[in-house]
């Protein structure tokens, strides 16, 4: 469990971090380290340099900004879990964050790190996708925003350029009702399949681990918008998904779970 050797640099500001990233195309950003470090220890990732942004203090916040909630990229899962503002305005994020991994993961992992890692099996990216969040990205030439729907590109691949840093995540308020179903075998595990459903004047549904990226359950959303019942909508839940098989579940079983869990998540909406 020893990574290959690498350089380490600590950035005091986002601008400094971007400069460091620009200087080395194999550099990676280190935030909470709970996705990247395990990959490095298994030597599945061997970055030449780690740019540690963990000490940039002004990137950890949850605040209201008009009809959106702005969340700093370095906000820890535990802070999402316990934020009173989130519990009131975007309760799904508190619930999802509170079930990630185990307490030590939740105290170290960050929303920005989880999102930038772009793992289709992770919980927060799917929740942000269901919420229609907006990613605020800073690069050498300034800021840009990317909608969640365009952020997750492929297996562990996002819209971030190598010299860009995700600094803030903006989520709309108004999704007061939600359903969250995470099916795993042990409390600390990734979801075998998970479903996030949120409702304002419309119902958005997304999947955890039903494909290489987090996925919107488009078939479900379309049926619901057309007035279908929960049962009817759930019965087509796995349409348009591309789950893989692993030692925890076959493809067919994942598709079956998707249908069952969508029905349960929608039922939680009341």
């Amino acid at each position: 469990m020893y990574p290959s050797s690498f350089e380490y640099a600590r950035a005091a500001t986002v601008a400094e971090a971007i400069t460091m990233l620009s200087s080395d195309e194999d550099a990676k950003v280190l935030a909470g380290g709970h996705s990247l470090i395990p990959l490095m220890k298994l030597r599945l990732a061997s970055p030449s340099m780690l740019v540690d942004i963990g000490r940039i203090s002004d990137l950890s916040y949850v605040r209201k900004d008009g009809d959106q909630i702005a969340i700093g990229a370095l906000t820890r899962h535990r802070d999402l879990e316990t934020s009173e503002l989130l519990a009131r305005e975007v309760p799904v994020l508190s619930r999802v964050a509170g079930q990630i991994g185990d307490p030590s993961v939740r105290h170290a992992g960050t929303i920005g790190g989880s999102t930038a890692h772009g793992d289709g099996a992770a919980d927060l990216p799917a929740a942000l996708l269901a919420l229609g969040a907006t990613m605020v990205v800073q690069g050498p030439s300034g800021n840009r925003t990317v909608p969640a729907a365009e952020f997750f590109k492929g297996f562990l691949e996002t819209a971030l350029a190598p010299d860009e840093i995700l600094t803030e995540i903006r989520v709309p308020t108004g999704f007061s009702k939600f359903g969250f179903q995470k099916f795993n075998r042990r409390a600390q595990d990734w979801a075998i399949v998970g479903v996030v459903a949120v409702r304002s004047d419309r119902t958005n549904v997304s999947f955890i681990n039903m494909g290489p990226t987090p996925l919107r359950a488009s078939a479900v959303e379309e049926r619901l918008a057309a007035g279908a019942s929960v049962e009817e909508a759930a019965s087509v839940a796995d349409e348009g998904t591309s789950p893989s098989a692993d030692i925890n579940a076959s493809v067919d079983y994942r598709r079956h779970l998707a249908r069952v869990l969508v029905q349960r998540a929608l039922s939680e909406l009341g």
């Binding site: 020893y2 099916f183 409390a187």
Partner: protein
């Protein structure tokens, strides 16, 4: 007149473990924590193939890597070994035992077997260099499944004619077995699979060998359960005089049997320290430990019951295929034998037959894992008893009542040749049923079924007996085991009347220091805080048989108890001399010697201890100092037993099994520290539930372990367990003066069959009669689908 001196009872009281503050604060030092200046780091290049011939090894690039000191192939080190790695349990004279050396030389026989040893100045440099070693292999067909292995269509070892290592049979009355099956009103025939399990101790294996190049001796620090056995085996295998080896097991973070072994890396560190005249250390990574540390279980069981129309079992016949893995480790072939005598369980059965075929496969070697043979036996008989109950439409509790060995039959001579010491099996069952609210649970199950509730309820009962307290040395001899089963202890009272206990047991999480201090303090009438317990260092505790098989208390604790008695006897002589009375007129109460009938005439133990030390005024011919040493060989095994009840809910739509309640009534004889007993039962149950619901070493068709990391190999945590509901019965064992039986393995033995019986019970109205372990959600979902579509 009230007695002026009250002796406080310590045995039987809950007492917080003295070990825990050091563990919880991180003060304890494990092998990898030891700072050894100048130590070189050993990293192994391991075979990626399950079965292959080594064609070429090129270490030239690795040798030139930074920090690398030397790189060795198996051939380079052949001259280091006086013999192959030891198997101490040749169960039959004809047993096949392929030579097994610390590094493979010509062929590799499992993925994870060591091929090249890289020695570097840091572990990181050694890991980097290991990546630069080139080994070319010619892949050979692997033997992976037992029912294929037994056919010998492919061979796990190319130079053996067969995959069969041995066939071992216990057939006390074959004619009676045949007659019972001929005359049976009903028979049951079942095939069960004991999947391979990965022990996954919290602390991975770690070791460091420190040579004294001028003195020619070696100190071996190893995360082991068996420092004493290890010393003997290292001496014999590396060809070093035993007097030149000191083995120390520092703090050891769990073993579950996986550290009851002699490992290639221990031998390599020793041989390389000798060769390079520098300390050499090794710490396994988790992902290599899951391949290179032994596995547990791995059996295909065929069990048949013959019974009369009332459900009385008349015969049990068992045929076992047991997975040895690629090589025979220290006690690998003996593991199924530890269950061989117990396949009739807690039931009074007159006819019995057991046959085991030990088979080689191209997988990690197996060896003892918590319960070792006894969980497998209990699983088979307890699952089969449920099958019999279903056949006869009897309640699982009732079929057991009709077959129990009755409480008035103890000591009970079993058909398999054991003498069960004591027990009250009916009482265990009734207590557990009562605690569970069994009839209410059955009623609720009926209601849910009637209502078509998709949350199905299942109730599983399992009754067990195990043979513990390993072991009477003569019995071990009859099983061809290569050592005895005694245990040694020394008790010494120091000049200040503080007490030192030296034990040959080797704790690795059990709390021996707490329990042993309680035994001595109770006997001496002093505080346990005044008793120091020394262990796990062959220079301090030269004699010992170490810790496994729920033996430490019933064998090692008894040795300590007897040594304490002997010290008191000696102190009594000194007290009598000092007080000028006859020994017979003295009694020892509350750390005080006093004259019977006139308790005001007394001398405290402290005064006698100091007298023994100064030796100024001792009886003629009596040696100074208060010390006694005992080696105790138990006359019999002990037989812990109990009833466990699991209550599960199954989500029909997903197949998820939720363990909602767990009730255990255990009889481990007298309890020294009930808090430690409960802790052992908690951990034991969890480990058995792990086999039932979570864990399995999964291999692909080429023999690759698919779940080598703890993210994939699902060791459950407290989050997955209900709050256990525990109780006990106590039938003191007549085998030892403490009346104790042992409790380290009980929970694991009782729990897996209880849980799977509950799973099958939940689905029995669908016609489901079996569920393989582990009962994963997908597997259970498929069972429901298949049964529903019939």
């Amino acid at each position: 007149m009230t007695d002026p001196v009250q002796q406080e009872q310590i045995i039987g009281k809950r007492r917080i473990r003295r070990e825990d503050p050091k563990l919880l604060s991180g003060e304890n030092r494990f092998a990898d924590d030891l700072v050894v200046p100048g130590a070189l780091h050993l990293v192994l290049v391991r075979s990626p193939h399950a079965h292959a011939r080594i064609q070429r090894i090129d270490v030239s690039a690795a040798k030139s890597m930074p920090g690398v000191v030397e790189v060795f192939s198996g051939k380079d080190l052949e001259s280091e070994w006086a013999g192959p790695m030891p198997c101490a349990w040749p169960v039959t004279a004809e047993m096949k035992n392929p030579a097994h050396y610390p590094l493979a030389v010509e062929y590799v026989h499992y993925a994870g077997e060591g091929v090249v040893a890289v020695v570097a100045r840091s572990q990181v440099e050694a890991v980097d260099a290991a990546g630069a070693v080139i080994v070319d292999y010619e892949e050979l067909a692997p033997v992976l499944e037992l029912e294929e292995a037994v056919k010998d269509t492919a061979l796990a070892h190319e130079d053996l004619e067969s995959n069969t290592s041995f066939v071992w049979a216990l057939e006390p009355n074959p004619e009676a077995v045949d007659a019972a099956f001929r005359d049976a009103a009903v028979t049951v025939s079942e095939r069960f699979v004991q999947q391979r399990l990965i022990p996954a101790a919290m602390e991975p294996r770690a070791m460091v060998v420190v040579p004294s190049p001028m003195g020619g001796d070696y100190t071996v620090y190893s995360s082991t359960q068996i420092p004493h056995v290890l010393r003997v085996m290292l001496a014999l295998t590396a060809g070093i005089s035993e007097t030149k080896l000191r083995v120390i097991a520092p703090s050891v973070g769990g073993g579950f049997g996986s550290k009851l072994d002699v490992y290639a890396e221990e031998l390599l560190c020793l041989a390389l320290a000798r060769r390079m005249r520098q300390p050499v250390r090794f710490t396994e990574e988790r992902g290599e430990g899951t391949m290179a540390t032994i596995h547990g279980r791995g059996q295909v069981q065929h069990i048949e019951l013959a019974a009369n129309a009332d459900g009385k079992v008349t015969a049990v016949r068992v045929k076992l295929l047991a997975d040895m893995g690629a090589y025979l480790q220290l006690v690998t072939p003996g593991v199924p034998l530890l269950g061989a005598f117990l396949y009739h369980g807690v039931y009074d059965v007159g006819a019995y037959s057991f046959t085991c075929t030990g088979l080689f496969t191209n997988k990690t070697p197996t060896d003892a894992y918590r319960g070792a043979g006894r969980p497998e036996a209990t699983y088979a008989i307890e699952r089969a008893m449920d099958s019999l109950a279903r056949r006869l439409e009897l309640d699982p509790a009732e079929i057991r009542r009709r077959n129990f060995i009755a409480a008035d039959k103890f000591p009970y001579e079993s058909v398999a040749g054991l003498v069960f010491d004591s027990g009250s099996y009916h009482a265990n069952l009734e207590k557990a049923l009562d605690k569970a609210g069994y009839s209410d649970l059955r009623r609720e199950q009926e209601q849910r079924r009637a209502a078509g509730n998709p949350r199905r309820l299942g109730i599983g009962v399992s009754c067990y007996v195990e043979m513990c307290g390993l072991a009477p040395s003569r019995v071990l001899a009859s099983l061809n085991y290569g050592a005895g089963g005694w245990e040694a202890a020394t008790v010494r009272i120091l000049p200040t009347s503080k007490v030192q206990v030296v034990t040959g047991t080797a704790p690795h999480g059990q709390g021996h220091e707490t329990s042993w201090s309680m035994i001595v303090a109770d006997k001496l009438g002093i505080s346990p805080d005044d008793v120091e317990v020394l262990h796990s260092d062959t220079a301090i505790a030269p004699y010992g048989m170490d810790t496994y098989g729920s033996r430490s208390l019933s064998v090692g604790g008894t040795a300590i108890y007897l040594a304490t008695e002997r010290v008191i006897e000696k102190a009594m002589k000194i007290a009598a001399h000092q007080m000028e009375v006859a020994e017979e007129d003295l009694e020892y109460v509350g750390a005080t010697f006093r004259v019977k009938g006139s308790p005001e005439q007394q001398l405290p133990l402290a005064a006698i201890a100091f007298e023994a030390f100064t030796a100024h005024n001792l009886p003629d011919g009596l040696e100074p100092n208060l010390e006694a040493s005992i080696s105790w060989d138990p006359p019999n095994f002990t037989f812990p037993n109990g009833t466990h009840i699991a209550v599960v809910e199954i989500d029909e739509e997903t197949g998820r099994v939720q363990l909602v309640r767990y009730i255990a009534v255990d009889d481990c004889g007298n309890q020294i520290n009930p808090l430690i007993v409960e802790g052992q039962v908690h951990g034991g149950i969890t480990q058995g539930v792990a086999q039932a619901l979570y864990e399995e070493a999964l291999y692909d068709s080429s023999g690759q372990l698919l779940n080598a990391s703890l993210a994939d190999y699902l060791v459950p945590s407290a989050c997955e367990m209900p709050s256990f509901e525990l109780d006990s019965t106590v039938t003191p064992s007549p085998t030892n003066p403490l009346g104790v039986k042992g409790v380290g393995e009980a929970g694991t033995i009782g729990s897996a069959p209880a849980v799977i019986n509950a799973v099958v019970d939940a689905l029995s109205d669908l016609g489901v009669t079996d569920c393989p372990m582990p009962a994963t959600p997908e597997r259970v979902y498929q069972l429901i689908q298949q049964a529903s579509s019939k």
